[in-house]
Amino acid sequence: MRHFYRVKFRMALMLASALLIGVTQNSIAQTITTSQQGSHGGYFYSFWRNSTGSASMTLGSGGNYSCSWSNVGNFTAGKGWKPGSSSRRVGYNCGHWSCNGGGVFGLYGWTTNPLIEYYVNEKWGSSRPTGQNNYGNMTSDGGTYTIYRTQRVNAPSIQGTKTFYQYFSTRTSQNGSGNKVITFANHVNAWASKGLTLGSHDYQILLSEGYNSSGGSNATVWQQ
């Protein structure tokens, strides 16, 4: 009888260990180098790179992630939510951002009906990102942003080949270090006042992107 309970106890211990591993596995840091999307640490994540140069993304605990890239043609990486939200206050801390060449850091997402890609650019690399059309400035969260719109013609999209717009809010000067907030509703409302409307949200992430550059970033995202 005693043996029976010992076996039961061991089995329970093993089961508990397995469950614990299962629970924590998703929040253990892992480095990825191939394009993928998924969930990690309670957040949606996305990583993509093209075949030029090298890039990797390390998924940290919670909303933390870090990236490093070298002579990359283009890569994007980030953590956030699926679906996104127009009313979300996005908190972030960018502990490290270095980009020798092209790149941006900020909030990225897209909507359907209409199909729109949007960026709130907080930091960048060698040149400040702009767009085809300038819709003037707005202020939010202690910074001044310029609103741009660019048209993508016959580009692949979730609906298939599509001509669609990208909206940008780009800070007039790069944001600093420490905890920061992007009150996305301020941007949504400012865009709408210019006739730039969004549709139904798909994913929404704090993005690190590099193109024709080398660099690194380490950031954490959360919802305020």
């Binding site: 999307q37 048209q151 609906q159 298939g160 080949t161 001509t163």
Partner: protein, 325 residues
């Protein structure tokens, strides 16, 4: 494509025989089938004859020769509640069983614009303008009356699409028997299975895998997770040979997936009474339906309405045709 117009005077055609009876100045003529042999018929016999003939007409209307690779869609009410046209009615029409292949396109147009080459693959990378031209050229080639009048020298005042630099004025010859694009209502009615509709979400099934090529299953490996273009591109996703998935209730293939299919209509706003919009808005174009190999699942739903500039050409954009009688 076989001739579908009834040949009056053909004694083997019961419709023709019935028309002879009705048009005769002397109603009690001898009928080829030998059913009437005397002028002195009783009223009961005449009634019986009328019922017989009417039955033949009704039956023959459906046994009429249907063009090869076409399905005759019997009109009626949209009985799928998922349809944008639920409760509306529509007339009979013929629609192609398959999307137009590259072979069919090349035979008519003499070129193949497709990104993904293959005789049995649907033609892709064709604009709406390319497709209405195809319809007319094929109609002429087969001795049919072209359905469209295409004025390439006059900009369509209804076309407000910002990026459309073609803007031909295209109008229809109502009643012409030539090839044409389906209207959005016709496409949707057929996709939902018309009178045979089982109310599926996709055309022919609620399981997209059974009926459609879309982003998850149209490449070298099955993709999972979220739609992501770079992953799709790396997976060499592309169009697939026509007719390899299950057909819908009417026997139509690939209504969901493979290539998106152009419709006649402007995107605009769907009118409450079911009539097609008559003009574009600044940032929309013509309607496409059915989704394609590149797009997400929701695009393959029969009710989904997509828009694309009429001059747009994408590797996931093709069409199928309809025909008049």
């Amino acid at each position: 494509v076989a001739e579908v117009t009834p040949r009056c005077g053909n004694s083997s055609n019961p419709v023709s025989s019935f028309l002879i009876i009705l048009s005769s100045a002397r109603p009690a003529v001898c009928i080829t089938a030998g059913l009437v042999s005397s002028r002195s018929r009783s009223s009961m016999t005449r009634l019986t004859l009328f019922i017989y003939a009417a039955t033949i007409v009704a039956a023959n209307a459906w046994s009429q020769e249907v063009p090869d690779n076409f399905v005759k869609v019997q009109g009626g009410s949209f009985n799928s509640t998922k349809s944008n046209y639920a409760g509306k009615t529509i007339s009979d029409f013929y629609i192609g069983k398959y999307e137009i292949t590259q072979t069919e396109w090349t035979e008519v147009m003499g070129n193949n614009p497709s990104k993904f080459k293959g005789d049995s693959l649907p033609v892709d990378t064709v604009s709406w303008y390319d497709c209405v031209e195809y319809c007319n050229r094929r109609s002429i080639k087969e001795g049919l009356k072209p359905y469209y009048d295409i004025d390439k020298n006059r900009n369509d005042p209804n076309n407000q699409t910002a990026v459309d630099d073609i803007r031909w004025t295209v109008t229809i010859n109502a009643g012409a028997n030539g090839y044409r694009l389906p209207t959005e209502a016709e496409w949707e009615y057929a996709a939902f299975g018309a009178r045979l509709s089982k109310g599926y979400t996709y055309s022919g099934s609620d399981d997209i895998e059974q009926v459609a090529w879309y982003w998850q299953n149209s490449g070298e490996e099955r993709l999972i997770g979220y739609w992501h273009w770079p992953t799709i591109e790396n997976n060499r996703n592309q169009t697939k040979p026509i007719g390899r998935k299950e057909p819908n209730e009417l026997g139509l293939y690939d209504m969901s997936g493979n290539v998106r299919e152009w419709c006649w209509d402007w995107y605009g706003e769907l009118e409450s009474h079911g009539v097609a919009p008559t003009a574009s808005t600044a940032e929309s174009g013509r309607v496409w339906k059915g989704g394609g190999w590149l797009g997400a699942e929701f695009c393959c739903e029969s009710s989904f309405r997509g828009s694309y500039e009429a001059n747009g050409r994408g590797p996931d954009q093709g069409f199928r045709v309809c025909r008049g009688k």
